[in-house]
């Protein structure tokens, strides 16, 4: 213990992680007057240097493929510093027969630097899942509990959209949407023809100035990070106001190892590895907020063992790491001949979809539970690495013919991505691998993952819908998927959609859940979890907006409890 460097300072709250949840907590808690220390495992982000906004592919000698062409597997070299499926020296393992891909981001802002900005509210019915169909569990809170916080988050970060009155996709506080692209008009018309709802999307991108942030300049590159902060990232929108209060201490390069439990049964601080010096350090705080990402927070709890909690902190229920889900994902694409005749024009728009298909079959019986939404895109995007991989896969030859064909097919494809709800199952969870530690000496996670028949049937339905829409648009559907094997109907490997949640879920019953409805541990009142881990279900809406709304609500509760002296 003599090697551990203790900081004598006592903070009010230690927040672990600076992404969607941790950034929200840092802002709300510091503005509420608390002194916060924020531990971030990665380095700071510098938008002006790190973001490749408006860069042409030829401005990099690697043209977007990255050193040795290796960036192809991690979304290309122009994306904002974003993390990866594999991080050197920080392994994770999969149990035999399981294949889970864990995406981790080690940087201030976390995955919000590069995320898709899709900001969808969960629907009222999503909080009453068990009541609805007998599967899984209901949430301990309702839509009405969370709605005011959706309002706060949307108003603060800026989300465009339209009021549509679709019950599966509640309306929010919206900025006006951007005009549709040609691909949107074509898909919308096809959807109208076959009775599918298609509406403007809801993205955390500014179409009007908000809080002094400039509106979008429509370069279509949100994923690269935005120098003008015209889209939402925690690093540019949550952290700066927290810093401005003077009450935030940011510690970067700090890999949290354990939440420390005091003799009184409350957390008293966090020990972490300072990556630069490879020494163990410690911060003291009256409360701890874990927001390190769902699985990383579960790992931290499981690694925080004590006499009182031999199976991990706040884990008397044994459910930490359980109830892991990712979104069901299946993709496809088709060629739309009508697009061949489009005159060249600026198609960039915002960095993401202008329209989307919310879950529309909520009014009928389907052969799988819950639902999915469809994201789509295509058309005359900025050419990049792999631009003609489909053409090259399908057609051979070279020379003048190849060049002519490339001109002909450029911008004529429309891609579709289904994103649906997975039901938690007993074969899908993470635990500590007792044989492996990472380079910081911290025991790593081992994953168990299995899709059930529910998800496979959903992927099948996605493929059928993609085909129906592309064909209704006069196009030819190109994707072929197997009906069995490892990825039936193109279902993505677990973790690939990067919506992993549920590993420290909230619930009314401390025997079957880790947290109460305020993201507060049942077992340890001054421990909170504010990332994807508290989510009871993982509906067909990307989780980020809900993570922020839950974190905002939990942070206000924490402020209240602190004022009452209850922590």
């Amino acid at each position: 213990m003599s090697q551990v460097i203790r900081s004598p300072k006592m903070y009010d709250v230690c927040v672990i992680g600076s992404g969607a949840g941790g950034g929200t907590a840092a802002k709300v808690l510091t503005e509420g007057g608390l002194n916060v220390v924020l531990l971030e495992a990665g380095p700071p982000v510098n938008p002006e240097k790190d973001f490749k906004m408006l860069m042409w592919p030829y401005e990099s000698p690697h043209r977007g493929a990255g050193v040795g062409g290796h960036a192809r597997e991690n979304f290309g070299e122009f994306l904002a510093p974003n993390g990866a499926w594999r991080i050197e020296g920080e392994p994770y393992t999969s149990a035999p027969g399981s294949n889970f891909q864990w995406f981790r981001s080690r940087i201030v802002g976390g995955r919000t630097n590069h995320w898709g900005r899709i900001a969808l509210r969960f629907a009222p019915i999503d909080f009453k899942s068990a009541t609805r169909d007998g599967l899984g569990d209901d949430w301990p809170i309702t839509y009405d509990d969370l709605a005011p916080y959706y309002d706060k988050v949307e108003s603060y970060i800026g989300v465009f959209g339209t009021r549509e009155n679709v019950s599966s996709a509640p309306d929010g506080m919206f900025l006006p949407p951007p005009k549709p692209r040609c691909t949107d008009l074509i898909v919308k018309k096809a959807c109208d023809k076959i009775g599918i709802i298609c509406i403007p999307s809801r993205l955390a991108i500014l179409t009007r100035s908000v809080n002094g942030r400039l509106p979008c300049h429509y370069c279509g590159q949100c994923g690269r990070g935005c120098v003008t902060a015209s889209n939402f990232s925690s690093s540019q929108v949550m952290i700066p106001p927290a810093m401005k209060t003077g009450k935030l201490t940011m510690v970067t390069g700090a890999m949290a190892r354990e939440v420390l439990l005091g003799k009184d049964g409350k957390a008293e601080g966090v020990s972490y590895i300072d990556k630069a010096t490879r020494t163990e350090k410690r911060v003291n705080a009256r409360a701890v907020v874990l927001a390190a990402s769902a699985c990383e927070s579960a790992r931290l709890l499981l690694n925080s063992k004590s006499a009182q909690f031999p199976d991990g902190l706040a884990n008397s229920s044994g459910t930490v790491g359980r109830y892991l889900t990712d979104s069901v994902g299946s993709d496809g694409w088709g060629i739309i001949p009508q697009l061949e005749k489009m005159p060249p024009h600026n198609h960039d728009g915002v960095g993401g979809m202008h329209m989307y298909i919310p879950w529309w079959k909520f009014d009928r019986k389907n052969d799988f539970p819950r639902g999915y939404h469809i994201e789509f895109g295509g058309g005359r995007n900025m050419p990049g690495i792999g631009e003609f991989s489909d053409l090259l896969h399908e057609e051979e030859g070279y020379g003048a013919t190849l060049k002519k064909r490339a001109r002909q097919v450029y911008g004529t494809g429309i891609g579709m991505a289904g994103r649906g709800e997975m039901i938690p199952n007993p074969d899908t969870y993470c635990e500590i691998d007792s044989n492996v530690v990472d380079k910081w000496g911290i025991p790593v996670l081992r994953f168990h993952f299995k899709w059930s028949e529910y998800e496979v049937r959903q992927a099948k339905d996605m493929q059928e819908t993609f085909r129906a829409v592309i064909e209704a648009a006069g196009g030819e559907y190109k994707t072929k998927t197997p009906i069995s094997g490892e990825r039936p109907f193109g279902i993505a490997e677990g973790g690939k959609i990067i919506h992993e949640v549920g590993t420290a879920r909230m619930g009314a019953d401390p025997k079957s859940s880790v947290l109460n409805g305020y993201c507060q541990a049942h077992d340890v009142k001054n421990v909170f979890v504010m990332d994807g881990a508290p989510l009871v279900t993982n509906p067909d809406k990307n989780p980020t907006l809900t993570i922020m709304a839950l974190a905002w609500r939990a942070s206000e509760y924490l402020l209240d409890e602190a004022k009452k002296g209850n922590l």
């Binding site: 951007p178 549709p180 003048a400 006069g474």
Partner: protein
């Protein structure tokens, strides 16, 4: 471009004069100039200047690579070809950093010379244009490898090189212009879709 469109420099200038004052972002104006400088520097360094010294391939192999890139995407009446677009430099750079590429391309080029020498008693580069075309027509199509197994390595090599050549060409200034892509700029409003042609 329409009046609606502004250039990259315009937006950087806008940032530099502090249009974001009062923003939650406090750092932009001071750093904007540095960013602009970097952009200009990148543009300059992207322009072809001087003779390229291959990082991985031998002079002979690099000449073969260049000849093959030119065959895959040649200059035509509309635009320049893959060589002018810098595809060989791009491929050489990636190959110098990736052992799988070294095997696939370095080995592939060697295979091609051996194949030509067996067939025509010349290296690929010393073959006549007709002979070279005959060889490419053999390795550019999978069905040929089905009939003649001896061609299968050549077919795999060509498919790989074709992919990289397309990547190199269609990420270049020439290739992007060839596709008539319009964008990667800052607009005040997104204009939406021009009138759709009849389906």
């Amino acid at each position: 471009m329409s009046e609606n469109s502004v250039t990259r420099r315009d937006i950087l200038r806008t940032l530099a004069v502090g249009a974001v004052s009062g923003s939650v972002l406090q750092v932009i104006p001071a750093k904007a100039a540095e960013y602009a400088h970097q952009v200009v520097h990148n543009e300059k360094s992207a322009s072809p200047a001087g003779k390229y010294v291959p990082k991985y391939f031998s002079a002979h192999q690099y000449e073969m690579l260049t000849t093959l890139c030119d065959a895959i995407i040649p200059k035509d009446e509309k635009s320049g070809g893959a060589v002018e677009a810098g595809a060989p430099e791009f491929i050489d750079l990636l190959t110098s950093e990736n052992e799988e590429y070294q095997l696939a391309l370095g080995g592939g080029l060697q295979w091609l010379d051996s194949f030509c020498s067996d067939r025509y008693s010349e290296t690929f580069l010393d073959c006549t244009p007709e002979q070279r075309k005959a060889v490419l027509d053999m390795i550019a199509f999978r069905k040929n490898a089905k009939q003649d197994l001896a061609l299968s390595q050549g077919v795999a090599f060509f498919a790989f090189l074709r992919r990289l050549t397309c990547d190199g060409f269609y990420t270049s200034k020439i290739g992007i212009a060839d596709l008539q892509y319009i964008g990667n700029t800052a607009l005040r409003e997104f204009p939406g879709c021009p009138p759709l042609p009849e389906a």
